[in-house]
């Protein structure tokens, strides 16, 4: 193991880790917005909205994220969408994880006992009121952990943007593997930084999950 090399390249990896964190944060935020909209559409009474929601989830989950990213970044200019690699990465990854999070959120909402809605409706609450005051607060608790799993996958998923040359952790590792011929060292260094990020996020999720847990 070449520790001198590791120490020498460490600052560059750290910089790259910051980009990975930024990608994760922005794309997760966008993913949550997409998921909220997607869930709303999938649970809507309107056939049209439901069809849009279902198509979104099915197409995104049915095709590779890498291809989605390529369509957006390389194909975008053909239809008038000019994005730099980082922007394309955030949007591509965000829309992608949004489809998976849609299924997580929908699952949590469906998992709330039907009797809860019935009881609320029986008291005279409208569908929307029952959803907002009775179902959603309970579903929110159910979705913290599975959304944490989605976010964990997303952090690792940000590596894909290496393929469109965003200088994040995996891209940096790849470049240094190429120039130093030390694949193990570079893998371990990048891997350690990924694990630190995932570990910290995991702690946050556990904390949040405990905080919202039922009395």
């Amino acid at each position: 193991m070449d520790f001198d090399l590791i120490l020498r390249v460490f600052p560059y990896f750290l910089q790259a880790a910051v980009v990975t964190i930024e990608l994760s944060v922005y794309s997760t935020a966008l993913g949550l917005v997409c998921a909220a909209l997607g869930t709303f559409a999938r649970l809507s009474r309107h056939k049209m909205l439901r069809a849009i929601g279902t198509t979104y989830v099915s197409v995104i989950r049915g095709t590779p994220a890498l291809i989605q990213l390529f369509i957006l970044y390389f194909g975008g200019p053909q239809i008038g969408i000019q994005l730099d690699a980082f922007e394309a990465g955030v949007i591509g990854l965000g829309v992608n994880i949004g489809a998976y999070m849609t299924e997580t959120m929908r699952g949590a909402i469906i998992a709330v006992d039907k009797g809860q809605t019935e009881a609320a409706r029986t008291l005279g609450l409208s569908r929307t009121q029952a959803m907002r005051k009775v179902v959603l607060p309970q579903a929110a608790r159910l979705m913290v952990r599975p959304l944490g799993v989605n976010i964990n996958a997303q952090i690792k998923g940000t590596a894909l943007v290496a393929a469109i040359s965003v200088v994040e952790l995996t891209y940096t590792a790849q470049r240094y593997i190429g120039s130093t011929y030390k694949p193990f060292e570079m893998f371990l260094l990048a891997g350690a930084l990924y694990m630190v990020i995932i570990y910290v996020v995991g702690i946050c999720v556990t904390y949040l999950d405990r905080k919202v847990a039922l009395k």
């Binding site: 197409v59 049915g62 095709t63 590779p64 994220a65 890498l66 291809i67 989605q68 390529f70 369509i71 390389f74 194909g75 975008g76 200019p77 053909q78 239809i79 690792k156 998923g157 940000t158 590596a159 894909l160 290496a162 393929a163 952790l169 995996t170 590792a173 790849q174 593997i177 190429g178 011929y181 030390k182 694949p183 193990f184 893998f187 990048a190 891997g191 990924y194 694990m195 995932i198």
Partner: protein
């Protein structure tokens, strides 16, 4: 530059060939990840500590890092230690190992869920520990975990696109080659996405059939 899908049919044969490679790579890696997952699960649960702990460290590392990074490690790492494998083999090994670790997690949970009475019944009949694990516990555990493992295989199909980055000419790289000649990324990536979508549907249908058949023997 507008859109012109008329150029796609000209390269259809290459996209289909690329699809065939994607299917082949997916199936090979799926098989590797399935049997590897069983092996890893048995190691994690039953192997002596000096085997178990290094394995757990490996599993922990593979679950915490991106697949793409692992592919780089395996492809360039093998070359470094003097094993120059074709990219497609490195790709299958990388995909297979990555998903074997995830499958192992699922299978471990499945094994723990098999009633302890089953294990005792096996031992009471005179079977050895290894025989009981192999013939009684694992078959039941595997049946119980078919749905989540199926989900991993669907994820594997989509992640197989990543091996294009280490130069495997599967569906994604095939469409890239067509793009380098035609300069029409939108059309060809969309065509590739359509191919993936169809393969995905077929895989889901296949898994669904397997699930239904296995339900009977539970």
């Amino acid at each position: 530059m507008g859109l012109d899908f008329a150029v796609v049919p000209e390269y259809l044969d290459r996209l289909l060939l690329g699809s065939a490679w994607t299917i082949g790579i997916t199936l090979a890696a799926a098989a590797l990840s399935f049997f590897g997952g069983i092996l890893f699960a048995v190691i994690a649960l039953y192997a002596p500590a000096f085997v178990r702990w290094p394995f757990k460290a490996f599993a922990w590392l593979f679950m915490g890092t991106p697949l793409l990074l692992q592919l780089f490690l395996i492809y360039f790492g093998l070359i470094q230690i003097g094993i120059d494998l074709p990219a497609v083999v490195a790709g299958v090994i990388g995909l297979g190992l990555h998903f074997a670790v995830y499958n192992s997690d699922i299978i471990q949970a499945g094994i723990r869920a098999v009633d302890n009475g089953q294990y005792e019944a096996g031992r009471t009949l005179g079977l050895s520990q290894a025989q009981t694990i192999r013939k009684i516990v694992v078959p039941q555990a595997v049946r119980a975990v078919v749905p989540p493992i199926g989900n991993n295989m669907i994820a594997l199909l989509k992640d197989s696109a990543l091996v294009s980055v280490i130069g495997v000419t599967e569906l994604t790289l095939s469409s890239q080659l067509a793009i380098s000649k035609t300069f029409r990324p939108f059309e060809f990536y969309l065509a590739a996405a359509a191919c993936y979508y169809v393969i995905n549907l077929a895989l889901e249908a296949g898994l669904h059939r397997i699930e239904r058949r296995i339900q009977v023997a539970r």
